[in-house]
Each structure stands twice: as structure tokens, then as C-alpha cells.
């Protein structure tokens, strides 16, 4: 029993990371209806920038971190302006594929500048583990967990109450109608990409502290899909909880498969199988907005 409790706690801990990345994903989707397959690469880009600033240019971490955020804003602006703005109003699959293309470009740019070697972050957070219910947990994970909780609260309030937040949701639903309200949709898009890039960069810095970075950090983006889809693409709560749920469930499934069937490597698949089962019951995820269909 203790084994399963530990699996759950470990799942929550890893799920915190998923939630963090998923939040950035949902911000973009909520404001622009873009399904971003390059989310993992945005995380990677942020991580590398911070790495370059701290290690290669020896800037103190705090300053480097702030500069990373500034850079992320610029990256968000650039991506929106160059890649996504021309595709406003195009089909689902076109937008998906453009983000797929973007992920390749980002990956190879990182390879060009920093090569394929693993790069090691200077330790920013303490490494001494904290024991929770008998399971030692590294502070890095706690930081990720806390951060995703804070971001969730901030974004929820932002989308519910702030004028810009509401305008973002309006824009996502109907761009032209939003324009007719005097909402500058280009600014809205740019802003949402900036927010997503900043969130991703923060996630990247935290991830870098876990096990260094290399040009394949972007793989994490794939793990985020079960989380966001499970929660519902446009739901912040869904992203936050979805990440945790997927973290726990994949751990439990993996544990069960390992113990009773002797199957290894089930973890990667487990998340997706759970996802499909849940989608068959709730086609818009646990908290997603159901599309209103009128005929």
C-alpha cells in the first residue's frame, strides 16, 4: 500500500511539471485557438537562453532569469508576427503543422548554437530532498508544483475578470467580431504568445535544474497533450489538474503493469490510453467548453 501511496506522490510531483508546461499551452489555445505542437520547444528555448546567460556569459542567475523573460517576450512576438499571423483564419491542420514546423526550426537553431551535447545548469535551488509521506522529493519539483499553482490562480483571474483576458477569449471565438468591438486582435495574439513563451521559459529553467538540458528537451511537449486534452483544451483548471492526474495515473498504471504483468515502459502509453478512454466518455475533456452546435 505504501508503494502505491509513493507512486501517487511521485505522480503528483512529476505532474506538477506537466501542469506548468500545459498552462502555457492552454493560454495560447484560449486566446488564439492554436494547438501548439512546439510547446516543448518553447520550454527548451527558454532553458537554453537562461543557460547561455548564466553559464556562457556568467551573468548572476537572478539577472539572467529576468533577461530570459525579456527574451521570451521577444520570441513570442517574433513567432506570432512571422509565423502565425499569416495563418489567421486557416484550417486546424495548417496551424498544427506550422507549429510542428516551428518546433523543428527551434530545435535545429538550438543545435546550431549549442550543439547536441547535454548542458548542465548551475544549481539554483537546494538539492537536499524534502520528505513527504515517506518519499523524499527534490525541492525542484516542489518549486514546479508551487509555481503551477500560482500561475493557475493568476491566469484564472486574468481570463475571468480582466478586460484583456475577456478580450482574449472573445478573440479566440470570433476574430472578426472581436475586431468590430475595437479589440486589436494582433495585439491580443502577440500578447498570448508572449505569455506562453514566458511561462514556458520559467518551466524550462526549472526543468534544466532537474537533469540538465539538451536539444531533445522538447519531447516533453508530447507528454503535455494527454494533460491538456484530458483537462479540456481551453480550461486552465483542466491543464492544472490534467497534468497532475496524468502524472498520477501514468505512475499507477506503470506500477500495476510492472507488478502484475511484468511489462516495462508502459508509462508513455498509459497516459494516452487513459486519455482516449476518458475522451470517449467526455469528448471535450473534463473541463473543456463544449462546442455549441446549431443547425
Amino acid at each position: 500500500m505504501e508503494y502505491y501511496l509513493q507512486l501517487v506522490i511521485n505522480g503528483l510531483v512529476v505532474g506538477g511539471i506537466y501542469s506548468l508546461v500545459a498552462l502555457g499551452f492552454v493560454v495560447i489555445y484560449k486566446a488564439t485557438k492554436v494547438v501548439n505542437f512546439a510547446q516543448g520547444e518553447l520550454v527548451m528555448a527558454g532553458a537554453y537562453i537562461c543557460f547561455a546567460l548564466t553559464v556562457q556569459f556568467s551573468i548572476p542567475f537572478l539577472w539572467a532569469f529576468l533577461l530570459t523573460l525579456v527574451f521570451s517576450v521577444l520570441l513570442g512576438l517574433a513567432i506570432e508576427r512571422v509565423v502565425l499571423r499569416p495563418l489567421i483564419g486557416e484550417e486546424h491542420i495548417s496551424v498544427i503543422m506550422v507549429t510542428v514546423g516551428m518546433s523543428s526550426v527551434l530545435k535545429s537553431l538550438v543545435q546550431l548554437f549549442w550543439g547536441t551535447q547535454i548542458r548542465v545548469y548551475p544549481p539554483v535551488l537546494p538539492t537536499e530532498p524534502v520528505v513527504i509521506a515517506g518519499l523524499p522529493v527534490a525541492p525542484v519539483y516542489l518549486a514546479a508544483f508551487a509555481l503551477s499553482a500560482v500561475l493557475f490562480a493568476v491566469f484564472s483571474a486574468f481570463f475571468k475578470y480582466s478586460r484583456t483576458g475577456i478580450a482574449m477569449r472573445a478573440t479566440a471565438f470570433d476574430q472578426q467580431a472581436a475586431q468590430s468591438m475595437g479589440i486589436g486582435i494582433k495585439n491580443i495574439f502577440a500578447m498570448s504568445w508572449c505569455i506562453a513563451c514566458v511561462v514556458s521559459a520559467v518551466g524550462g529553467v526549472i526543468l534544466g535544474n532537474i537533469n540538465g538540458i539538451n536539444s531533445h528537451l522538447g519531447h516533453l511537449g508530447l507528454k503535455v497533450f494527454p494533460a491538456v486534452i484530458l483537462g479540456g483544451l481551453d480550461s486552465l483548471l483542466g491543464a492544472a489538474l490534467g497534468g497532475l492526474i496524468i502524472g498520477v495515473l501514468e505512475n499507477l498504471c506503470d506500477g500495476v503493469a510492472r507488478q502484475f504483468f511484468g511489462l516495462g515502459g508502459f508509462r508513455e502509453v498509459a497516459a494516452f490510453i487513459i486519455l482516449v478512454v476518458i475522451l470517449m466518455i467526455k469528448p471535450y475533456g473534463l473541463f473543456g467548453t463544449k462546442e455549441i452546435e446549431r443547425v
Binding site: 499569416p86 523543428s104 535545429s108
Partner: protein
């Protein structure tokens, strides 16, 4: 299919033909002749590239039928191709004749595809896309843990195809075999597209609610789309398996699925010709890049290294540029070029 100016039909059947004018038929005939003669002029490497193109054409037209025509995005086609590869491999390893093995592979893949198409009953758009991504990962897992069936982590070694004692063990021989299959696949999809099945698929893509009202059984036709598409993907996989002679789980990863999606987007969604263009483009692009890298490195030594890092990026960049500047795909450019020459020299 809009009849061009000056082309009059005396029967409905004439209007439903794939190639409508005599000139078109002539050009297609000449092109086929050129294709048949090509191995005489090409060296082995170029022939092998053509062979990869043919395999890709089958896979691309399969995916285009499902995604471009029927509107069901699939991120699992790489794995479906894998199912075909393993199925065909197991067949020939167990002594089934090659043509039968390919057919069996197609049917088995069709079945697997239909199983993974079941979520399309309730899921739409991106949600379905992610469900097919699940299919991709689940199948990859099965490939790796399939034991003797898939050779597990060490994969399967296969012999070249044999038909009635004739061994297809050179590039040129494979060329004709693959050309035949590619042409057959294209004809098959072109026929489906001008029949009630094709129209039903498009109706599901364009407005599924009214498709249902005109009597299209949504679930069944989505399943059929998954089935036919997977069938062809399976055939493509079976051919790939026997062409390369070795299959392992990692050949059929998510990257393969994505490159097939790239093919149909670059070529043109929902178009048979577009699938061909896309397959040609995506297969030739790395070859072209290598050639550029090689010729550049003669002038600027050391640049090849950077170009290697950039190759994946160039692929992504090309994809982005296409989506921005030619969202309708190469086939649209082709139509414009054709329209231009039709009016030449009076175009302005």
C-alpha cells in the same frame, strides 16, 4: 473537376472521367512511358530515391484520403504503415507468397485502422488527432513488445519480394514493382473520389451535420475512410518492409506520421495529384539539401557541419513557408501554371 473552355461533353460519363481531354490522356501516357523507361537512364542511387518516392506516394495518398478528403486528422499513420510492414513481414517469413502477403498486410492494417478509428464516432478535430496520436504510441509499444511477432527490439529481417519465382533483388526490379503498386493506389483513390464514397467523405469533412441528413451514415463512412486509408498505408508498409529488408519499431515513430502529414500539406490536401507532389517533394528535399551542403562545403569548408544541424530546421522552414505562402499546396501552383500555359501567349 471543372471542364475547361472548349471542351464539350456528349455524355455524363465523359464528364466523370479522370483525364478528360485527349491532350491530357496523351500527356499522361507519355509520362507513364517516361516513367517506364526511367531506370535505363537513372543510376542506382537515383533509382533508389525513386523507389522511396513510390512508397511514399502510396502512404501519402492513403493519408490524404483520410485527412484531406474525409477531414479526419490522423497522427498515427506512421504506425499504421508499421502494422503493414510487420504483417507483410510475418506473412512472407511464414511462406505466404508476396502478393498475398501484401494483400493480407493491407487487410490487417485496415482492421487495426478501423479499431483506432472508433473514437472518431465521438471525437472531432484536434481531439481526434490526439486520439490517433495515442494509436501511434500504443502501436509503437506493441511493435517493441510484440515478442516473436515483431521480433521485439531486434526487429525482423526480410528477403526481397519474390513473385512466381522472379526475385526483385535489384533497385531497377523493385522500381517496376513499386511503380505498379503506386499507380494502382493512385487509381484506386481517384476512383473512390469520384464515386459516392468519395462524395460522402467530403460531405463528412465539409459539414457532417448535413451529411447525416442526406443519408450518410457518419460512423460507418468514417470507419470506411479509416479502413481504406489504413489498407493503403499497410500496403505501403509491406512494400517498405520488403524493399529495405529490415524493420524495427523505431522506423515507424511519430516523426514518420508527421512527415506524411507534411507531404499532404505541401502537396495539397484532398488532391490525388497533390499527394504525389508532396511525396516527391518531401523525399527529394533531404537529397537536395545534401547536394547543396556538399557543393557548398567545397566553397566554404566547415559549412556542411552547420547545415547538418540545420537540416531538420530547413524541413520545418519549408513547411512553414508552404503554409504561409502556398496554403493550398503545390497542386494549386500546378493548376495556376497550367492555366497560364493554356492562355499563353495571351495571358497577362
Amino acid at each position: 473537376m471543372q471542364g475547361k473552355c472548349g471542351l464539350f461533353f456528349t455524355s455524363y460519363r465523359g464528364e466523370a472521367q479522370i483525364f478528360q481531354s485527349g491532350f491530357q490522356k496523351l500527356m499522361v501516357g507519355l509520362f507513364m512511358l517516361a516513367l517506364l523507361a526511367a531506370p535505363l537512364a537513372l543510376n542506382i542511387h537515383e533509382t533508389s530515391v525513386m523507389n522511396l518516392v513510390f512508397i511514399a506516394v502510396i502512404g501519402a495518398v492513403a493519408l490524404n484520403l483520410l485527412t484531406g478528403v474525409c477531414g479526419q486528422i490522423s497522427l498515427g499513420h506512421g504506425a499504421f504503415i508499421g502494422v503493414g510492414a510487420y504483417a507483410a513481414g510475418q506473412c512472407t517469413l511464414n511462406g505466404v507468397p508476396f502478393p498475398l502477403a501484401i494483400l493480407t498486410a493491407g487487410l490487417i492494417t485496415a482492421m487495426v485502422g478501423m479499431v483506432f478509428g472508433v473514437p472518431s464516432l465521438r471525437l472531432k478535430g484536434i481531439y481526434l488527432a490526439i486520439a490517433t496520436l495515442a494509436a501511434q504510441l500504443v502501436l509503437e509499444f506493441v511493435f517493441l513488445h510484440g515478442g516473436a511477432l515483431t521480433g521485439g527490439s531486434s526487429g525482423l529481417l526480410l528477403d526481397p519480394p519474390v513473385i512466381l519465382g522472379f526475385v526483385f533483388d535489384t533497385e531497377a526490379r523493385m522500381y517496376y514493382l513499386l511503380l505498379f503498386f503506386a499507380a494502382a493506389a493512385l487509381l484506386m483513390v481517384a476512383n473512390i473520389m469520384r464515386s459516392r464514397y468519395g462524395r460522402a467523405f467530403v460531405s463528412i469533412r465539409d459539414y457532417y451535420l448535413s451529411a447525416e441528413i442526406v443519408g450518410v451514415n457518419l460512423f460507418w463512412f468514417k470507419l470506411v475512410a479509416f479502413g481504406v486509408s489504413s489498407f493503403l498505408a499497410g500496403v505501403s508498409g509491406g512494400l517498405w518492409a520488403h524493399y529495405t529488408g529490415y524493420i524495427s519499431a523505431e522506423q515507424f515513430n511519430i516523426g514518420l506520421s508527421i512527415s506524411y502529414l507534411a507531404m499532404i500539406i505541401i502537396g495539397g490536401m484532398g488532391s490525388v495529384l497533390g499527394s504525389v507532389f508532396g511525396a516527391v517533394f518531401v523525399v527529394l528535399m533531404p537529397e537536395a539539401l545534401n547536394a547543396v551542403a556538399n557543393s557548398l562545403s567545397a566553397v566554404f569548408p566547415g559549412i556542411a557541419q552547420s547545415l547538418v544541424a540545420l537540416r531538420e530546421g530547413v524541413f520545418g522552414l519549408v513547411l512553414i513557408l508552404f503554409l504561409i505562402f502556398e496554403p493550398e499546396g503545390l497542386v494549386n501552383r500546378w493548376r495556376l501554371v497550367k492555366a497560364y500555359w493554356k492562355l499563353y501567349p495571351f495571358a497577362h
